[in-house]
Amino acid sequence: MEVRKKLKRIISLFGIAAKMDLAWLLRDTKFALAAIASDMISNISVISSVYLIAIRFGGIGGMSVDEVMFMMAYSTIVTGLFIMFGSGNNIHISRIIGRGQLEHLFMQPNSLKLQLITCGFVPFTGNGNLLTGCVLLLISINRLQLKVTPWWIALLIVNLVATMVIIVARAYIVSSAAFYAPVAAEEISTTAIDGTWQLSTFPLSGMPAFIQIPLLTILPEGLMAWFPSLCLLGRPPLNLTEFYPLAYALILALTASFIFRKGLNYYVTKGSNRYVPYGFRR
């Protein structure tokens, strides 16, 4: 009964976020469409550059042109999910913390976790990249003649979830700095994620291990698209299991939870002298 109630609550919160998004799309359609188009153009231009290199050289580091396309599709879907679920600064949380806006969240009769999961959901204005990614995925599956079984679909979902968890966990780990230095670390999440995003779209196949390993451990850009794509193509790199991204995501999520809680405790103990209304309640 309690679970059902909670589920209903989550759905209603996602629902109101979707309704607000649709209202904005229908009210300011021209601007909303311009925003969607610019998101798509920006992402397509990033993946196009890699794809054009693959065409020019007949593949990259042992990956065929179509496999590179598959990887670009995966990367675009991840970008699409990021935009669709993280448009309320709930992933770039250093902005909320650094601007002293967490107090708005404390006023709501919902747990912080529930609010953060649901508040950035924009299924209408934020679906451009997700749809583009799905189209690219279908084209590449067709060109690669991949066998799509229920197990493969499950593996795709697990990998996408793991990639998203890694993105969110990494953002929350670096964002925790904003608890201690709100002004200096306000944009740290954007710097950490966007600053290395282009690296995540580059196929690491054929690179030496001393480049691949750090990019699968210290700076997990290889887990954003390259590693999961190869797992889905049936050949996980470096003799690692196809569940490596999931295991990595789990460890990172636990670390993020510990560090973020510590920061949050600091915040409610010391308070924040800073408040900037910018960017809140769009």
């Binding site: 209603s12 607000m20 404390f106 006023m107 009769p109 308070g271 769009r282």
Partner: protein, 342 residues
């Protein structure tokens, strides 16, 4: 165990903050790298008070006295260093989500409205997030729309509202879930006379008719006296006074500021009045209306040639608190002298 009659209970609450101290000299910068200097600020020092259900309490104090800290502690946004806090028999720190269903908070310098949406959209968002039942939402929406006269604003975007309109919309939104206790932090900040009047009347009405407990902070004594029956004065992290406005006046006198605008630029003589400043023909006096009643004052001014305007307002909080300390000092001296004589 908390007393159920109390809307708010603050027991021996202490809250300190640390401030980093830096100077701009080369030596200071190096010292900061090796051993940074910290200053501990006691925002609340062993503060105890209770507020009964249905009370309208003014929580006053000068800037930096600890007013907003108290509000944040009451709403679970901050943790106290020590002491117990209870709001509606719940701990704001441990039962925050449950408490927020019954508590309303409004910070004058912040908005909960969605900037790029019409007001009614923000209200509907609140209905879902707070899980407000349809009937309660409809009833409260009707009430706030009528009492705050915001019918015409409902379809307007929050970003297009004036400050007064925005405050009214924020206040209306805060009341949609029928909160039993309302915390208002500087709600009249920046409002014009008409907007202020409307807000004060509305707050008094919901306090009287719906029995809503209201705690309001401000450093404007006029507004506070207009609204509340009881005043809690805080200064230097301690409760300096807790009682009615009449009791406060009996200690400090009826401290008032009178601004007289003169046509010819010379200062009028006012009995018991102390000239504080003169600027462009406006003369400001300190006067105790307990000693010089307002009728006597106006009578005096009516006999002075060239008076263009007279404005009477309450003395600022800093002066009232100074008056309190002065009164206590003289009490201490008197009792000390009495002890010496005996």
């Amino acid at each position: 165990m908390f007393h159920t009659d109390f809307a708010v209970s603050f027991k021996n609450v202490t809250k300190t903050f640390t401030q980093w101290q830096r100077d701009n000299t080369g030596k200071g910068l190096i010292k900061n790298l090796i051993k940074p200097e910290k200053l501990t600020i006691t925002a609340l020092d062993d503060v105890t008070f209770t507020i009964r259900k249905g009370e309208f309490v003014a929580y006053a104090g000068p800037n930096g006295a600890g007013k907003s800290t108290t509000m944040k502690l009451l709403s679970g946004m901050l943790l106290p260093d020590s002491g117990n806090i209870s709001v509606l028999s719940m701990s704001p720190q441990k039962q925050r989500t449950k408490l927020m269903q019954r508590l309303g908070i409004l910070f004058g310098n912040r908005t909960e409205l969605w900037w790029d949406h019409p007001i009614i959209q923000s209200f509907e968002w609140k209905k879902v997030v707070w899980g407000i039942p349809d009937e309660m939402y409809r009833r409260n929406l009707e009430m706030v729309t009528e009492l705050l006269d915001i019918g015409k604003l409902l379809k307007t975007f929050a970003r297009e509202l004036s400050l007064g309109q925005r405050m009214k919309a924020d206040l209306a939104m805060m009341l949609l879930h029928s909160p039993e206790v309302i915390l208002l932090d500087e709600p009249t900040l920046g409002l014009d006379v008409v907007a202020k009047r409307q807000m004060i009347d509305f707050l008094k009405k919901i306090n009287k008719e719906n029995g809503v407990t209201i705690i309001v902070t401000s450093h404007d004594m006029d507004d506070l006296e207009e609204m509340a029956e009881r005043i809690l004065m805080i200064s230097g992290g301690k409760i300096a006074f807790d009682g009615s406005f009449d009791d406060l006046r009996s200690i400090t006198g009826n401290l008032t500021r009178v601004a007289v605008t003169m046509e010819h630029g010379f200062s009028p003589q006012i009995d018991n009045g102390r000239l504080l400043s003169s600027d462009n023909g406006v003369f400001e006096y300190d006067i105790d209306l307990a000693k010089t009643p307002v009728t006597v004052l106006l009578n005096q001014l009516s006999q002075v040639n060239g008076v263009r305007d007279v404005e009477i307002k309450k003395a600022p909080i800093e002066q009232v608190i100074a008056g309190l300390y002065k009164a206590w000092d003289s009490c201490d001296t008197a009792s000390h002298m009495a002890q010496s004589i005996s």
